[in-house]
């Protein structure tokens, strides 16, 4: 099928933060079942590109479609629940327990609360469910983030450096999650610096340099 079937269809996309130009002329097509590894030096714009794809930063130019929706239109709000993003820093409330954090997400997403406990179990944190995020190790916090995506089950999964702070057993889990998304006809874009570790999870790679995808 042609590009209309793509989950991500970027043509000449540019992005700015304030007055600084971060991305320009980015072309990127990702079709269902594809997993793209995004590489590039520090500061190349990987995180920024992921946020643009996630509808969180509006492109300042070019044509950008995600999950069939133009990012310049109001429809972009409708696709947000179908997108999952795990960034550099955990998006957790340090004053709440690991479980409460997941339950909050479940409530907002309108999901059964039991899914929260189940997901926590799947990432190996069942025993630590009532521990506060602020009293958990960094790797445990990252695991909770993956538990959230297991629970939310997005069609488009965006991962920023998925390996950092995860021990080998947790990395297997990530591979499992990625495989799951792809099987269901979703797509994954993951930014990383580690070609080898990422290899088992990606179907192809792209390189960001000079603000554009080479």
């Amino acid at each position: 099928m042609p590009a209309s079937d793509s989950l991500i269809l970027f043509e000449g996309v540019a992005a700015r933060i304030g007055v600084a130009t971060i991305l320009r002329d980015v072309d990127l097509v990702v079709v269902p079942g594809e997993s793209v590894g995004l590489f590039g030096a520090n500061g190349a714009g990987k995180t920024t590109l992921l946020r643009v794809i996630a509808t969180l930063l509006r492109p300042s130019g070019g044509s950008a479609r995600v999950l069939g929706v133009d990012l310049a239109s109001q429809d972009r709000f409708d696709i947000r629940p179908r997108i999952g993003l795990i960034g550099h820093k955990p998006a957790l409330y340090p004053e709440l327990s690991l479980l409460s954090n997941l339950e909050f997400s479940a409530r907002i997403a309108g999901l059964d609360l039991r899914l929260a406990r189940k997901a926590l179990d799947q990432v190996g944190l069942a025993q630590a469910a009532t521990r506060l995020v602020g009293e958990s190790s960094y790797g445990m916090q990252r695991r909770v983030e993956f538990a959230r995506e297991i629970m939310l089950d997005p069609d488009l999964l965006l991962l920023d450096e998925p390996h950092s702070a995860l021990d080998p057993s947790a990395i297997e889990l990530v591979e499992h999650i990625v495989a799951g998304v792809l099987e269901r006809g979703g797509a994954v874009v993951l930014a990383s610096h580690d070609v080898e570790k990422v290899a088992p999870m990606v179907t192809r790679t792209a390189e960001l340099a000079g603000g554009t995808v080479a």
């Binding site: 700015r16 130009t21 030096a41 960001l208 000079g210």
Partner: protein, 246 residues
């Protein structure tokens, strides 16, 4: 300077200047209020400026709603420009009132509901302008300040009714419907002055809105992907030559 960015003196500016001169003549020619002395002529600055400030903030309110309804940045520019002029007019009115107060009450400031509430209204719109200043992105600025432009109008109600709601030192509202208590010539001079300030408001608004449009164009021009990209500032570590350790 290109033709688009040059400041053009329009017919409106000329009318504004002429009408201010005209109003000045009326103000000087108007009869002296015996009980108050020459300071009473501040009436012709104090009252029109505060009324125009009301108008300016009302325009901000309406333009904010129109922006949210249409999402056209033009309305945001009107809202912002009008609030700016409103703040200037409010300041002029307060200063005029303070000078007048020194002449009649023998103090610059006193604890009076109207005075205090007027000052607070000024703070609301200073806050509005401060907010506009800290947001660079035009759309974000428009949405966020529109909300404040709408909420802010609530402020005008207590200012206007303050003289009725509290026993105040300040003059009660003279202009009630069907019940105007003011001498004919003074009233005439006041109305001329109000008219003159209205034209001044319109002229200022026109210029400010145009300027906002130019700023937007400049912002969009900077967005053109020609300049350096932020990521270019990072290079590979430089460990070959000097070495990390001395």
């Amino acid at each position: 300077m290109s033709d688009a960015t040059r400041t053009r003196i329009g017919a409106l500016d000329i009318v504004a200047t002429v009408s201010v001169v005209f109003a000045l003549v009326f103000a000087i020619a108007s009869p002296r209020i015996e009980s108050q002395g020459e300071a009473a002529r501040l009436l012709f600055v104090h009252v029109p400026t505060i009324w125009l400030a009301y108008l300016a903030f009302a325009v901000t309110f309406v333009a904010s709603i129109l922006y949210l309804a249409t999402r056209r940045l033009r309305w945001d520019h009107v809202a912002g420009a009008s609030a700016e002029i409103g703040v200037v007019f409010t300041t002029v009115a307060i200063i005029g009132g303070m000078v007048w107060g020194k002449a009649t009450w023998n103090v610059y400031w006193t604890w009076d509901a109207r005075l205090t509430l007027t000052a607070i209204m000024l703070f609301v719109y200073i806050g509005y302008l401060a907010l506009r200043r800290v947001i660079a992105e035009p759309e974000a600025r428009a949405r966020r300040s529109a909300v404040l432009g709408i909420v802010g109008l609530v402020q005008l109600i207590p200012v206007h009714f303050s003289v009725t709601w509290w026993r105040t030192l300040h003059q009660t509202n003279t202009f009630r419907p069907r019940d105007i208590q003011m001498d004919g010539p003074i009233l005439a001079a006041l109305l001329v002055s109000v008219a003159a300030f209205t034209v001044v408001y319109a002229a200022l608004l026109r210029h400010r809105v145009r300027l906002e449009g130019l700023e937007l164009a400049a912002y969009a021009a900077a967005a053109a992907p020609v300049g350096p990209v932020a990521g270019d500032a990072v290079s590979a570590p430089n460990i070959g030559n000097s070495g990390a350790q001395p």
